[in-house]
Symmetry: C2
Amino acid sequence: MTPEEAQAALAACREQIDDVDRRLVALINERVRVVEQIGQIKQSAALNVYEPNRERAVLDNVASANAGPLPPDSAVRIFERIMDEMRTIQRNRMLSEEK
Amino acid sequence: MTPEEAQAALAACREQIDDVDRRLVALINERVRVVEQIGQIKQSAALNVYEPNRERAVLDNVASANAGPLPPDSAVRIFERIMDEMRTIQRNRMLSEEK
């Protein structure tokens, strides 16, 4: 592969990644909207916001769905980050509603 | 909403989240496969593996694609985690090839 060919191949790969990332952003936003619904249901029914068993179930679902090449421990760390951000979003929403 | 109605609504939301998460896992795996292609191209053309400008471009693409409700700083943290895991995967692949 010449350097020019390599650069062209890299550019094509990066376009693919940008496309994947845009779809990831759309899906994560879909997830935020469902988490916000969950927050409203819990609030109206005075249920606990934090349920550690549910987090285990989320990670189990992710592990079952993961056909690779993503290593299982990487999948756990990415989804722990996603769940952590969802908690922050929920917390900020509740704080702003209390004001 | 009765407690029973709330539980049923929560169960429906959780099924939606599990579905979103399975699609997220599939997309992240698609991303890993493209990143692995990039690694092979860079290796065959002896190009630099680490390019900080590209990371900026990834975050810019994510920010433009993010129509909300995901806050911009949450999006940055999630994609920094995803990129960090991709670097770990690449590094482990190169180490195992050197053996």
